[in-house]
Symmetry: C2
Subunit: 232 residues, 2 copies
């Protein structure tokens, strides 16, 4: 009867969440080959109920993506006690989390679904993933960057430009390769290494001074400092 409401953590009954989790599982397993009959069987519910709750197949798909998106909770930014080292660590941790999420099966699957549907322009799955993906990343990261700038640790004119550069340094060609099916072994150690490298490079480009902030204080938390703007 309802068929198309905003999906979030508390607008759904437990049973509905079960159904959406079943759909999510089928999506991850079988790609886009999701059938209403399959979901009904997996969730032990009737197709009639699916249509009553979600309207049609697109509604179910949309609700599933939103449901998964609503699961991702972001840690708030600590504004106090900021110095070069804590800023570096914060960005590095951010990069690590982001790479971990992006390389996960669920992220790859949902991005694929959304891209597939963005081609037809029918549903707005693309916009949803965009909102909960890159845009959410920007919303979360930009305050950190601006706080770093206010503290004199970073230097940039355009926050969006700085963010997008950080995005590029972190993600590089990883996501498109995963989406295209490249087998890309990503161990936790490799991700940590990538996150550190990306953060070092970002500081090399946007650090307020090329000697202190990025090099000595921040970069030297676990390993070598950054020799000017040269890495590796």
């Amino acid at each position: 009867m309802q068929g198309r409401v905003e999906v979030s953590d508390d607008t759904l009954t437990a049973r509905q969440k079960d159904v959406l989790d079943a759909a999510l599982g089928l999506l991850v397993e079988g790609g886009d080959a999701l059938t209403m009959t399959g979901v009904a069987r997996r969730a032990s519910c009737s197709k009639e109920t699916l249509y009553k709750w979600f309207g049609d197949r697109d509604g179910l798909l949309t609700a599933t993506v939103q449901w998964q998106a609503s699961k991702v909770r972001v840690a708030p930014v600590t504004r106090e006690g900021l110095n070069a080292k804590s800023l570096f660590t914060s960005l590095e941790g951010f990069a690590r989390d982001w790479l971990t999420v992006l390389s996960g099966e669920i992220s790859v699957t949902l991005n694929r679904i959304a891209i597939t549907h963005a081609a037809t322009g029918k549903s707005d799955l693309g916009a949803i993933v965009l909102t909960n993906g890159p845009f959410a990343m920007a919303r979360r990261l930009k305050p950190v960057l601006e706080i770093g700038r206010e503290a004199g640790l970073l230097s940039f004119k355009d926050t969006d430009e700085a963010f997008r550069t950080f995005f590029g340094l972190v993600v590089r060609d990883m996501q498109i390769r995963l989406l295209l099916g490249d087998r890309l072994e990503l161990t936790e150690a490799a991700i940590a290494r990538d996150a550190e490298r990306a953060t070092q490079q970002f500081f090399a480009l946007y650090g307020a001074t090329s000697e202190t902030a990025a090099g000595k204080d921040a970069g030297g938390n676990t390993r070598k400092g950054i020799p000017h703007a040269r890495l590796l």
Copy 2:
């Protein structure tokens, strides 16, 4: 009868190329909603001929992607007369070309198709696009980077790492946003600006000296030099 051969410029008759171009046009217009009937009508050929030539729908899709890929010709790298300025210009032009291709409708469409099919694992469209996309970019760019290193203009240990960083600086979040349907107005001027910024940043990170190569000689071709590792 044949149904599944390698598709390149000269293994196809002119008539077959016409058919593939028709398929390409339908793909760009209608996303993945490509039907055999539609291709036959658009190309004024019979479905029987389609099946005789390409085997099945996947074969047609694969041939179409390969056909488009075979159209992209890369300019050979000039090894002679290399200096910081020409290297900068070369990388910058490379970035501009790449951004222009990536933001084009055909690229977006084919990447979407390939990603869609990579989900099912059925056809190897993902591998094809991967080969003719990021991997081709790497094959083309890496020699340039290594020549630059041999000439003492660049400094890096791992060519692949340097390439992937360049990729990240150039593409950033542009491709994923386009794939997800984000309306992203990309004028020629904006692309040129992005290409220059990315190249400057790359030189800031990997230039052999942070003062001469990237800053004065190369970066100063049209606009301001690079103040150490700080941009903007």
